[in-house]
């Protein structure tokens, strides 16, 4: 039988805040166990939570980026369960009244038809502690307990493991772009549980869903989905039925295992968290945040093309990552011609970054070559104060050590010789010294002119304007008696 697959994702994203969700403890990673803790995140008697405003703002920003409706009033709830990773034995989450409702993520642009994966809602909650298991005991590290998490819950609108990957990658790009999260997969900044079911093709009733937990990587999610889809279809093909349950992915074995069935599902006994006031978001505040939203890559690409007259490809490269896009725009607003800035950034600047073992995003922290300095260099190129080779050498030097391009040019006398008389004089000397190439040029060999230009450059110690040199050479040779 042929099947339609329905996949929904619950994606937990660690928000980029300085402190924990309900206390002032640091979120710095790499600390010794149980150092970044206090009475609140340890769940000591009498301690009370207080909500992190920045986490609320970042969640709302995510909702706005993803087209969700922002709730006028959101409420925290207690989700009750006993496990040592939650110090209070309840997790503060949002059940009945989440911050963001609905929304969507667009997938399938390139090649296929674009379509929107609907979101059910986005809510804010706290992360659990980390449990380390040893040979004879287990240890709990509460440093992570209380980390702000945003849970993005999709509708079951994805129909293949590949689509699920595309959804996650798109989501990740948007969230990183918005500065909401680092979405660093190795650090567990972005973790997903999946719900998957299969139904006979043509049926409009969803099959029985199975939830899978414990995938730490995108690859793991893909593999778990593939395994689970094969398991479910084989089961139905053999005349069996899928039961509603939660299964655990074992990455080493590449299989899912039953954790608990519906009958044994937790009863979380949600109720409104009485220690926290409801979050009331005045519409003016939400509008203010909306106005501050970063432009999404697609929109930015279109704007770069129309505003700066860049080719679509260039606009796309520059817009893909926010730090690079910001670097480009700052360079242009510091006075560099847009096309020239685009060429130099995409060419030499990225090449130098790559050679230094850095990524495009690191351009933001490039203290030796801030946008103002690059713009100053490019203005010298544009005004033909220095020639191309000088500019390239100077860029490498700036990238390495920093400095003021205009001052360096002045100090070392690097300005190109653009005085027609001076260049003409050099051209005459080059012609006198190289009769053979001159004769060849006269006989129609165009390339010989380049050789002669090179000689002029040599005589000027690289400072002559090559265009002027070529013009002068051509004119002098033309005027020579036959």
């Amino acid at each position: 039988m042929k099947y339609t697959i329905d996949i929904g994702l619950e994606t937990h994203v660690q928000l980029k805040t300085r402190t924990k969700m309900f206390c002032g403890c640091s979120l710095a990673s790499g600390a010794e166990p149980n150092v970044n803790v206090c009475p609140v995140c340890l769940g000591l008697p009498g301690a009370l939570p207080r909500a992190n405003r920045e986490a609320v703002r970042l969640t709302v920003i995510s909702g706005l980026m993803l087209g969700s409706r922002i709730a006028k009033r959101a409420e925290f709830d207690r989700k009750n369960y006993f496990y040592p990773d939650m110090s209070k034995n309840y997790q503060i989450s949002e059940d009945a009244h989440p911050l963001c409702i609905g929304g969507g993520v667009e997938i399938g642009g390139a090649g296929g038809a674009a379509r929107t994966v609907r979101l059910n809602h986005i809510h804010l909650e706290e992360d659990a502690a980390k449990i380390n298991h040893y040979a004879r005991h287990s240890g709990v590290d509460y440093n992570r307990c209380g980390t702000p998490l945003m849970e993005i819950v999709s509708e079951p609108d994805l129909h293949s493991p590949d689509e699920a990957m595309e959804y996650l990658q798109t989501l990740r790009r948007i969230l990183v772009y918005a500065g909401v999260s680092d979405c660093n997969l190795e650090d567990g900044n972005m973790r997903s549980d999946v719900n998957v079911s299969v139904r006979p093709e043509g049926s409009d009733r969803l099959g029985t869903k199975v939830e899978i937990k414990n995938m730490n990587t995108f690859k793991g999610i893909h593999a778990a989905l593939e395994f689970e889809i094969a398991r479910q279809t084989a089961l139905i093909d053999a005349g069996g039925a899928v039961i509603q349950e939660t299964r655990r992915w074992d990455g080493d074995l590449g299989e899912t295992f039953s954790m608990r069935t519906k009958e044994n599902a937790h009863d979380y006994r949600y109720f409104p968290e009485p220690d926290l006031l409801p979050i009331e978001l005045p519409p003016e505040l939400v509008e203010q945040w909306r106005a501050e939203l970063p432009e999404l890559p697609e929109r930015k690409k279109e704007r770069f093309a129309s505003q700066f007259g860049l080719p679509a490809y260039d606009a796309g490269v520059l817009a893909a990552e926010r730090p690079l896009a910001e670097y480009f725009e700052s360079t242009v607003s510091a006075g560099a011609p847009a096309k020239l800035a685009a060429n130099w950034i995409m060419g030499d600047v990225l090449r130098l970054l790559g050679a230094a073992g850095k990524e495009a995003a690191d351009v933001a922290s490039l203290s030796t070559l801030p946008p103002a300095s690059l713009a100053s260099l490019l203005r010298l190129v544009e005004g033909r104060t220095i020639n191309g080779p000088t500019a390239k050498a100077l860029l490498e030097e700036l990238f390495e050590k920093g400095g003021d391009p205009a001052a360096i040019v002045k100090e070392r006398g690097l300005a190109q010789v653009s005085d027609a008389g001076a260049v003409e004089e050099l051209a005459r000397r080059a012609i006198e010294a190289n009769p053979k190439p001159v004769a060849e040029f006269k006989a129609g060999k165009k390339a010989s002119l380049q050789f002669l230009v090179g000689q002029v450059m040599k005589l000027s110690r690289g400072k002559a304007d090559p265009k002027l040199a070529a013009q002068a050479l051509a004119k002098i040779i033309e005027d020579m008696p036959q």
Partner: protein, 484 residues
Amino acid sequence: MITPKDISATTVASARDAMRAGLYTSEELVRAVLAAIDEKDGGIGAYLTVDREGAIAAAAEADARRRAGESGDLLGIPVAMKDIFNVKGQPCTCASRILEGYVAPYDATVTARLRAAGAIPCGRVNMDEFAMGASTEHSAFHPTRNPVAPDRVPGGSSGGSAAAVSGGMALCSLGTDTGGSIRQPASFCGCVGLKPSYGRVSRYGVTAFASSLDQVGPITRTVEDAALLLQCIAGADPHDQTCLDRPVPDYAAALRGASTEGLRIGVPREYFAEGSDPEVLSLVRAAIDKAAAAGARVEEVSLPHTEYAIAVYYICATAEASANLARFDGVRYGARRVGPDGSLASLYDRSRTDGFGPEVKRRILLGTWVLSSGYRDAYYRRALKVRTLVRRDFDAAFAKCDVLMCPVAPTPAFKLDSTVNDPLKAYLCDAFTVPANLAGLCGVSVPCGRTAADGLPVGLQILGPAFGEPALLRAAAAMEALLR
């Protein structure tokens, strides 16, 4: 000079004045309190632990502050603390086995404010385990006796707080009131007990029973003392979002020239129905009559949802408690017991089975039940709706009255062991106190006489609207003067 005998007649205000006048030092006062505890507490059992060295050291420090020019109302005043407040370095067991040996690693906000004012948290007083009960018999360690009639209970859950003041072993104490736990023991022991409005005093560092109902307040000998303590502990706290950022009025100033002249007193009909002890009702009525004779306008009002208050309270409070007490699991602190299989489930099971007393278990089970799937709508959600109706009853009453006056409890102090085996009977005794918690009101118990037969104290309950403490305390001071 001050002697242990003098403590039973010493108020916060009189000690403040005496120390300002140089009649005695804080250290002498504290030593007198410690000696009074040694002398009297053997037969009462108000205290669980006394911090002798800490208290004397803090008193010496307060005396030094006084010499340096300070003279605040609470400077050098010892305060008995219910065993529910975190006082850094002192035990904080909530009278439960599950917290036996637990030492608080931080100060509650009220503790910090007392210390900043120079007050001295000198000892931990007994309570019903986790504030669940109305007799202090549910302490895991020992019951407390009523100093007025030692065969009777002091009330609860802040029974130790009231007994320490009533028994001349403290000038004042702090308690908590979730459903009457300050007002009822104050009534039983002949003290003044003030429950501030919800959101008036920070709950940070106060071990939670029911978060939406708990409130901290003083038990004292006089209304003035209650005002002085409230002044110190009230006000916004960044650690407690439910503690509201509203100005703290000058409560002592509100008491000056207090009288019942022109006071509009509402008398809720439902609180005088049959079933209460007739002597209690007649003492309360007599007090209201005196107010009327002194110029108050007395009007009968109705609070029609009163009959549902007990049910609503025992659903809301236990639901919240079932989550609040989940953290006591033997994993991080407190008593830890593990079953023979060494499993995590056995750790939870044994630690909680051995650690909690029967009343606490009963309430955790109740609370778990009312929140569980399939019952949450019928119980918890419905209770929240009725809670709103209870609040509206009071809104309507306060539209035409300044305060309400009624009994605190249907009976005076009852005998030890008379309710322990009948929880339902015990719960019904909270009928007149829980509505104020459900509605977030402020309320106070002021002594209004003693029963003829046994000479047992009876309190008059005065209720005011949320954040109406100045008018409430003013009415209480006026009644205190009339009834003296």
